[in-house]
Every structure is written in structure tokens, then in C-alpha cells.
Symmetry: C2
Amino acid sequence: MTAGRKGRRPGSPDTQGQILDAASREFVGRGFERATIRGVATAAGVDPALVLHYFGSKEQLFIAALRVPVDPAAIVRSILDETAPDDVGERLIATLLDVWDAGADRNPMIAVLRSIAGDGPVADAVRQFIERSIIATFAERLPGPEAQLRGALIGSQVAGLLLGRYVLRLEPLASTDPKRLAAIYGPTIQRYAFGELPTVGS
Amino acid sequence: MTAGRKGRRPGSPDTQGQILDAASREFVGRGFERATIRGVATAAGVDPALVLHYFGSKEQLFIAALRVPVDPAAIVRSILDETAPDDVGERLIATLLDVWDAGADRNPMIAVLRSIAGDGPVADAVRQFIERSIIATFAERLPGPEAQLRGALIGSQVAGLLLGRYVLRLEPLASTDPKRLAAIYGPTIQRYAFGELPTVGS
DNA sequence: CGAAGTATTCAACATATGTAGAATAATCCG
DNA sequence: CGGATTATTCTACATATGTTGAATACTTCG
């Protein structure tokens, strides 16, 4: 809204940062498809063309905006390594909720969840990201030949929780005390990670 | 493709049905946002205007296409009622996978999952649907004052599973034998449904 | 100060989309 | 058969979107 005259602005504001910030919020709030460059631009108080001038295309902006400062795989790794095996499940959920409850309106993973919608290249990227980064990290730390499956099981429960609590905001999931949720979900994760996985005769 | 002359076609083909069919596939495959009326029309071998002539708007088409022949709540109810309490979890997952594995490319719930993306009225409708129909059904059959929470817990695990297996097609989740998955997930559901839900001192 | 570079906006394009209205062909009913 | 109804398409519009290229104002550096 700052009186749209042309040309460079005085001073040296971190416009690129503001754009990234706005983009992040926009993608988190609406998912890739529904987010618009014009929306981002407006939110950043900037012309749409500038957004593309910096980031080239909507997809690249998406990637740039969601470049997580903390590598989720690293978090998973540190929890798996630094926690007593019996507490891994509960600890994992607790940490997760702790991080997400703060600043849930700009958590990149919510955008990721939302963007699962389509079938375009972005959705593909999301799938690969989850498969290669998160599940693989679990897999390399978990026991047995079926570590991959264990990772996927954990992923499925975690994804469902995140989806319900942060994207859909389903009650009472959205407002239950995080500690309690950790206590409830903990054993499930624990079982997926270290418990016995039944087989069935074909 | 059938030589686009104007006017009414000879015979009495069930065009409306074909449109619904195409719409269903389109919504399931791409979610609400990415699905287009023109796409549906083309798939149904029909002019876009006809689609709107019958269904008024894209949203109404969505609703019409996803009107499930079988009420999911009814299925849940019958399983809860007709299964030995100890087997409910496994049975639920088994039934779920059984239904979905067949004709997974036209299962309305996949469209629903995909359409969670946005924040528009459709996403709201989805949330209400899940809350009022599915979770509520669980809630009314499950024990204790926290039946609602139990329903949500089950919902979160189920949603995660469906998301991973059918929408994201994550490996190895997507290709694991359904019976085995039922055996694995069963106890989790069982615990959410009837087990003890820990509380924590604030 | 002047030249070069950079940040920023304007205006426009090409395309896609939901949607409306008029026109045409088949069927149905008397 | 003939009028009414229904099914179907064509054309067009308004809008939104990603994207581009030229123009302008500021900053930096010689």
C-alpha cells in the first residue's frame, strides 16, 4: 500500500525476506494451488513482478519459502539417538507438538500437507521428500529388515495427527493438552518402532 | 469426441450418470481445486456447459459426485455392532482396506482427503463431514466420557494410513498386504477405542 | 559528479477457468 | 402431425493467474 511509485525504494529494506515471509504464510495457509503470487505480493507490500524477479517461478518460490531452517531429519535423528529407547515414542510426539504449537501458522510442513492435494510436480516432490528424508531417517535407525515399514507406520500416525490437529483443526484433537497427546500416542509410536510386526500367512 | 454437432443426441444415454462418473474420477484424482469442469466435460464426452446445466456449479457438482452410495457412518456402525469387541480394530482396518483397494481410483474419500488442501467452503464442508459424521459415529458407540477423543484418535490413525497408502502412495505402505496391515494397525485402533487414555497432571 | 548496477513498478499478454444465454436437434405428449 | 419440453452445443464474457519486458528511481563505486 506504500504509494506505488515506480523505481527503487529508499533505504535498504530486506524485501526479499519479507516476500519469503509472506510466501511462507500464504503457502502454509492455503497450500500450493490456492496460494497466488499476487496474494504473496500484496501481503509483502510489493508488486507481483518483483516476486518473480527474485524467485523466477511459483514453484521455485514454494521451494524457497519452505526451505526449513531446521532439518526435520536431524531432529528425528537426535531424538532417536539421545533418548532412552523406552521413551522415544512419547518424546517424539512431545517434541513434535512443542515445535508445531508455536508458530503453527508458518510451519512449512502444514503447507506440505496441504499441497499433497494436487498431482503435479509439487505433490511428487512432497512424496519424495517424505520418503527419502523422513521415513529413510527412521529406517536407518530402526531395527530389523523391516525398518522401512516401521518408518512408514510411524509416518502414517504422525501425519494423521498433524492433519487432524493443525490442518483440519478437528476437535477435540486440536485443543487437547500436548503432553497428554504425547502420552496417548507415545505407545503407538513405540510399538511401530520397536514392537513386533505381525506377519500373516498368504 | 463424438462429432460435436449441436442439439440433442439420439437415443437416451445416461449422460448425467456419465458426467457424475467422470466428475468423481476427476475429483478423486486431482482434488477439488485442480479438477476442472472442462476436464470433467471432456472425460464425459460432453460440452462443459452441459455439466453446469445439470449441476449448477462446480461446488454442487463436487457434492453430487461425492454423494457416497454407502454411508461411511453406517459401515462404521455395523462393524462396531457386529464384531467381537476384541476384533474391532483389526476388522475395521481390514474392511477399510478391502473397500478401498478395489476401485481406489474412484473412492470419494480420496477426493475428500485431497480437497483438504484449500481453506475455502469445500474444506470447511470436509471438516464438518468428518467431525459430525465419522467421528461422531465412533463417539456414540465408544465408552466413557471421552468417546469424542477416542473417535478423533482413531480418525487420525486411519487418515494417516489412507493418506500414505492411497494419496501419497508411500512405499512400503502402498504395497503391503492388507491383511498384514490390519494385523499391525488393529491393536492401535483397539487401544484408542477401548484402552486406557492416560491423563497428565497440569 | 557520473556510470553501472540494482530494486522496483507498470502495463500487458497468454492462458485457463467458471459461468451465462442463445441456438439447435431430438424426444415426448396430445 | 405439431407443440412443448428436454438435451445438447456454440459462443462469449468476466475474471484470475503466471509470467514477461520495458521503464523508472535509488544506491554504489570509480
